[in-house]
Amino acid sequence: MATATATNTNKSVLWDWLTTVDHKKLAVLYLIAGALFFLKAGLMAIFMRIQLMSAENTFLSGQTFNEFVTMHGTIMLFLAVTPLIFAFMNFVIPLQIGARDVAFPFVNALGFWIFFFGGLLVSVSWFFGGAPDAGWTAYVPLSSGEYGDLGLDFYVLGLQISGLGTLVSAINFIVTIINMRAPGMTMMRLPLFCWTGLVTSILIVFAFTPLAAGLALLMLDRIFGAQYFNPGSGGNPVLWQHIFWIFGHPEVYILVLPAFGIISEVIPAFSKKRLFGYTAMVFATLIIAFLSFMVWVHHMFTVGIGPITNSVFAIATMAIGVPTGIKIFNWLFTMWGGKIIFNTAMLCASSFVPTFVLGGVTGVMLAMVPVDYLYHDTYFVVAHFHYIVVGGIALGLLAGTFYWYPKMFGHKLNEKLGQLMFWMFYVGFHLTFFIQHILGLIGMPRRVFTYLDGQGMETMNLVSSIGAFMMGAAIIVLLINVVYSAYTSKRVTVRDPWDARTLEWATTTPVPEYNFAQTPQVRSLDPWFYEKVHGDGTMKPAEPMDEIHMPNGSILPLTIGLGLFVWGFGMIMMQMENPLIPEWIVIGAGVIITFGSMLLHSIHEDHGYHIPLDKIKKIEKEVS
């Protein structure tokens, strides 16, 4: 039974990708899906900057602007950056820990498809009377059944579904990192990207669950008339703000920690030095994760909760500066005295450091309660968090893209175009957002679609918009680079094109589906570098060459995701005035598809198949 399926290789390419449970292919799917959502949300940002380019502009209506503001934030956080970090985590983490696959390959695919269909559900809102328009924070009562339109139903249900996908993926990553490490890969030898991936996944498990609870409350409020947020019936709108930010603050760290991890991989690789203060970096990550759950009220200083509460949370917030500072200094000391190679990946990684410091400094400014009353809901806040998310996360992701691209796709990205992209992006970024600090300080409120003439805001907004166009152009250069490099770049045939340090570079390029023919024996931190210096330049095997057990692909993750999509859409139809077909039929169909697929998966025992020894030897000979 086991080997019979192994010979079945004449599947069509499309079917192969739809049913894949291979972490490397899922990484590519995540990368494509995340990049598409990123482009969409980026385009919305460009449109908003066009609208704000001059005073009293009429390029967008106020309603459209609100929808763009909401969708830009929602998509970027939930549907663009999250899948992009998952793409790298999926591809890199099993390779870095010396594993053949993740702990639950099926759940890995399930996580992707549920995320994807959830994102699709949020996106189809455009065709049913407009996108959500209450901001990505969806504060009640603006988002409640009384004031919010149908778009908010898409927000609530789409994010619930995509959040479920993110949650199961996170559980999968945690178990992978804890249980699937190669012999000798102790926790304190884990590469920092794995550490941040682990901590991010833990944060997801403990932050996305309150979000699910909060969204469930909002859904019950909107669709079933619950009274949690209505003071007239004994409810309290501040409740939503608490639940949202109990999730919302850790969410920032969920996104930025993997970026820290990427930076911590790229900087040592191109400084030709080991990471300075590895242990301190690990503990700083853990402390940041802990503190991220203890500071959420700093988003609510102006609500009027009380002075003692505000002070406590202000101090806790400032405390985050300490572990973050440790990280900053460790990156600087890693570069100090190293033989630095300034290619695109390293440019992004090294320029991340000062940019992130700027975002951190304004963060501490915002943590001071008395002055926060001045900053609150102005462009100062917008500038602050864009220094974190663009200057931090986006630069980290770009560095990761250029760094891991040869392993993922078998060729490097073009360096000239890459550096052009970097400089356009970097200059454009500072043009866009630095000036927004000042705009905020002179009183320009965020989320407002226009401003009056003669208040001294025209020039600065124009500069900001020009910067945004430069960033947009930089992303176009990146896209050109992807296509151009695919045709012109030399194939990478060596294992380790960057002369790097960690285990993913010990695999052959392209990586065979089983990753390692023999599980490697890890003898040190930076195991690949260790073997290059102290060994013979190859990983010592921890086991004899034998046939390899692999999981079978399955279409069920896709059908479960589809079922949830239909189910969610049916729930939204309950709010539609003229739904054409009875919503109960749609909901029922969704429930049956979802649980039917789950039942099928649970009833049918699938033990996977084995790749026979002679086939492994043949593949190994081909790739090396």
Partner: protein, 207 residues
């Protein structure tokens, strides 16, 4: 992978964690339970924050009756014990006992669920507390209802396992599945301990 399990002497002492797959499922499920903790905490917080918001409708102390809650608590606690004993039988490779004890767990669970439905029915039709009556009503039904939904899911999980594996005996594949369902059932019981304390007893005990 599973290749390293020694099966020559019979069912391994801890069959749920004998294989790597079992170990992974075991850890993954615990991670999930950790996440469930804060999800229930959010619903508990919502209930506690809003329980005085009766908006002129019935309040908690007017509605709740101790005997009903006491019976429900006993049912669920006992089902937790039978579930533990089922896992004891599993370790001893006593398949028949395991199935019988799991069956008892399911019956007790259905009894609990029946009482809960009866309770909700009473409150809605005779107590005057609907889901939309007040913030108290909404948060009460969503907290206890979420627990009830977990009970329902747990029951269907047990039933699926019992039907699917009614004749297979204990294998290295189904042992982790039975074990996880049992963990889930205990977790539901743990949550109920807080529900009867925080929701019912605290309302009647006058805080």
């Amino acid at each position: 992978m599973s290749d390293s399990v020694d099966v020559s002497k019979g069912l391994p002492p801890n069959p749920e964690k004998a294989t790597l797959e079992g170990k992974n499922k075991f850890l993954g499920f615990w991670v999930f339970l950790g996440g469930e903790t804060i999800m229930f905490a959010t619903f508990f917080g919502t209930f506690l924050g809003l329980r005085d918001g009766t908006a002129g409708g019935p309040s908690a102390s007017e509605l709740f009756s101790l005997p009903l809650v006491f019976i429900m608590t006993m049912l669920l606690l006992t089902s937790s014990l039978t579930s533990v004993l089922a896992m004891y039988s599993m370790k001893k490779n006593n398949f028949k006992n395991m199935m019988v004890l799991t069956g008892v767990t399911v019956l007790l669970g259905f009894a609990f669920l029946g009482f809960e439905i009866y309770e909700f029915y009473e409150y809605v039709h005779h107590g005057g507390l609907g889901f939309t009556t007040s913030a108290f009503g909404s948060s009460f039904y969503s907290l206890v209802g979420l627990h009830g939904a977990h009970v329902t899911f747990g029951l269907f999980w047990f039933i699926t396992l019992m039907i699917r594996y009614s004749r297979t005996g204990i294998t290295l594949t189904n042992a982790p599945k039975f074990y996880l369902a049992s963990l889930y059932w205990h977790f539901i019981d743990v949550v109920w301990v807080f529900i009867f304390t925080v929701v019912y007893l605290m309302a009647i005990g006058g805080a």
